[in-house]
């Protein structure tokens, strides 16, 4: 028996939205989404409309926060606020790529693996996946950086190479379960083409799980990107990026706290907003089981 309230199809839009929000987790999802949307939008728009450029020297070095520079100036006289927001494409954007690319590759591989009847292929690839998953992500990332050299795009490549296996494992497990369901057998009885079955029946059910994981992964990757930049392995100056800004600001921690605190807050804001969404979604799942 479903727990969903018997909702008349002609209930007004407003009522339906209200109902959706009042279900468990609604508050978290909305708050998180708004917070995340805020920083992402500001990050992409502000550098275009803001008064300064990210690498423009606009004043005295190490000037504290003021009305014209709410987040102060860094050691080279650049406006911190502009730099913090300009870093969004780097931090959030690169993290986004670092999640969506492995997600796509991994889910496709996982589904194919779940469908495959070739025992040798399945066991070889599964072992490969398990092998890759056995390594701690951050350590290997640092190691690989020494081979590939630093740079944000190299980070994306590294993340893709390491992360696809995690998604593949999730997708494969779910695919195996899905394939045992009656509705998939029904598609066989219906005589549907393999292409149709995979794209319309298997993939949507598998990807819902992968997407849920991807959202949590997003938080992790943002922190990894910032972390790698902090260590000097990813973004290079003068590119604005939260991790490297924090690293640069370290030496001035005592005198100019705004150099490290504001980029740090940006990382926190992003991670927390996503966490709200994830928590809201999992509460919703629990409440509806």
């Amino acid at each position: 028996m479903s727990n969903n309230k018997a909702f008349a199809a002609d209930a007004s839009r407003k009522e339906r939205i209200k109902e959706w929000v009042s279900r468990p987790g609604g508050f978290g999802i909305i708050t998180g989404s708004l917070m995340f949307a805020a920083i992402t939008l500001v990050g992409f728009i502000y550098p275009l409309v803001g008064p300064y450029a990210a690498d423009e020297f606009v004043g005295e070095s190490l000037e504290g926060p003021s009305l014209s520079h709410p987040m102060g100036l860094d050691q080279l006289g650049r406006d911190v606020m502009t730099r913090v927001f300009s870093a969004v494409p780097a931090d959030i954007g690169i993290a986004f790529l670092g999640v969506t690319i492995p997600l796509t590759i991994g889910t496709v591989v996982g589904i194919l693996l779940g469908i495959s009847k070739n025992k040798y292929v399945v066991s070889t690839v599964s072992s490969l996946i398990d092998g890759i998953n056995a390594f701690p992500l951050l350590i290997i990332a640092i190691a690989m950086v020494t081979f590939l050299g630093p740079g944000l795009f190299n980070v994306v490549i590294i993340l893709t190479l390491m992360s696809w296996a995690r998604y593949a494992r999730i997708a494969r497990t779910k695919a195996v379960v899905v394939l045992q369901q009656n509705y998939i057998e029904a598609t066989k009885l219906m005589g549907y083409s393999k292409r149709r079955v995979i794209s319309k029946h298997v993939a949507p059910n598998v990807s819902s799980e992968s997407l849920a994981y991807a959202l949590s992964d997003f938080i992790l990757v943002i922190i990894i990107v910032s972390g790698l930049s902090f260590l000097g392995f990813a973004a290079r100056p003068p590119m604005p990026e939260w991790g490297s800004m924090i690293a640069d600001g370290r030496t001035f921690l005592g005198q100019a706290w705004w150099l490290t605190v504001f980029p740090g807050l940006a990382i926190c804001w992003s991670a927390i907003s996503l966490s709200f969404i994830v928590e809201g979604l999992s509460r919703r799942d629990r409440g509806n089981s």
Binding site: M1, N3, N4, K5, A6, S22, R23, P24, G287
Partner: protein, 328 residues
């Protein structure tokens, strides 16, 4: 009835859905159980019968449910106010429980002997040989052959019917005054079901235990039980002696009775209850069966308290139109 073993009156059970939202699962349950009575409790999904059982064994809190109003007494003890310590003295010793065969059942990682020992001792320390003797005795009562061997086995080695017999043995270990059997034969084959029903009747006779038998299978309850309580959408709509089921005074019972396929000619016209059972918590005002009732009039959905009308010494109904429909 002052000699009743269990008295339930206007019981209302709510469940906490979110921090602020409450859902009423049982809206008003009223019936009595007498010592040694075999009472059938029938209802479809969403009727609240499982929650009612939980309230009788004190496990409501595990589902975040709680008794909102009404009264529930067992042997004079107020079960609503019972403390966890009092429940420990009641559960298993005074009130036994047989779970639904398909779901629970013996703990898969314990031997049968270990589980029976648990059920027999219920936390008290007893001499090992005494426990073992009692366990064999109980397994014999439930007609399990070669009990000494079964004691050493694990649940996966037993058939569904045997596992359920073990659960019954555990339930009667301390000779409780009341046993709540929640769909004990659902999912079991019909031959096994017949045997288990025989067993329950035997236990009732030998130990004078009252048994509340919950099921969705009307023919089964009709054949086995003395009296039947019918639940629909969270309320007990009728209580009627089994023998009088044809003289029902509630449209839902009548519909359930008439829609039995064993009474119809093969491929004959089936009487069906139109529509869907109402979703839990989304109940309409007034009588909740009105939307599917053939006799419904506008007055049935009025926002009034649904009464409990006494027809005979053992017959209660909650249909406000019963006199008009079936005469005085």
């Amino acid at each position: 009835m002052s000699n009743a073993l269990v008295q339930i009156d206007s019981l209302c059970i709510d469940v906490k859905v979110t921090r602020t939202r409450r859902l009423t699962i049982v809206n008003s349950a009223t019936f009595d159980v007498h010592p040694g009575q075999l009472l059938g409790l029938i209802g479809e999904s969403g009727s609240g019968k499982t929650m009612l059982c939980r309230s009788l064994v004190g496990t409501l809190h595990r589902r975040g449910a709680y008794i909102n109003s009404g009264s529930l007494t067992f042997n004079g003890i107020d079960l609503i106010k019972a403390t966890p310590k009092e429940w420990r003295d009641i559960r298993g010793k005074e009130i036994g429980y047989i779970p639904q065969s398909a779901l629970a059942g013996p703990n898969p990682v314990m031997t049968i002997g270990a589980q029976m020992a648990e059920a027999i001792q219920l936390g008290e320390k007893m001499d090992k040989s005494v426990v073992r003797k009692r366990a064999i005795e109980l397994l014999e009562i439930v007609q399990i052959r070669r009990p000494e061997i079964v004691l050493k086995q694990y649940p996966y080695e037993l058939s569904g019917g045997m596992k359920q017999r073990v659960m019954i043995a555990c339930a009667i270990a301390r000779e409780p005054k009341l046993i709540v059997a929640d769909e004990p034969t659902t999912g079991l084959d019909v031959t096994v079901q017949a045997e288990i029903m025989q067993l329950l009747k035997q236990i009732r006779k030998d130990l004078n235990t009252a048994i509340i038998l919950v099921s969705h299978d009307l023919p089964l309850i009709n054949e086995v039980c003395d009296d039947i309580v019918i639940m629909h959408a969270g309320s007990t709509v009728e209580k009627i002696p089994s023998a009088n089921i044809e003289r029902t005074r509630h449209p839902y019972t009548e519909a359930l009775y008439k829609s039995r396929i064993d009474l119809v000619e093969p491929r004959g016209k089936l009487i069906t209850i139109k529509g869907q059972p109402p979703t839990v918590g989304d109940w309409p005002t007034g009588c909740r069966f009105a939307g599917r009732c053939d006799y419904a009039k506008p007055g049935c959905s009025a926002d009034v308290e649904i009464p409990s009308i006494k027809i005979g010494p053992n017959h209660l109904t909650s249909c406000i139109r019963q006199a008009e429909i079936w005469g005085k």
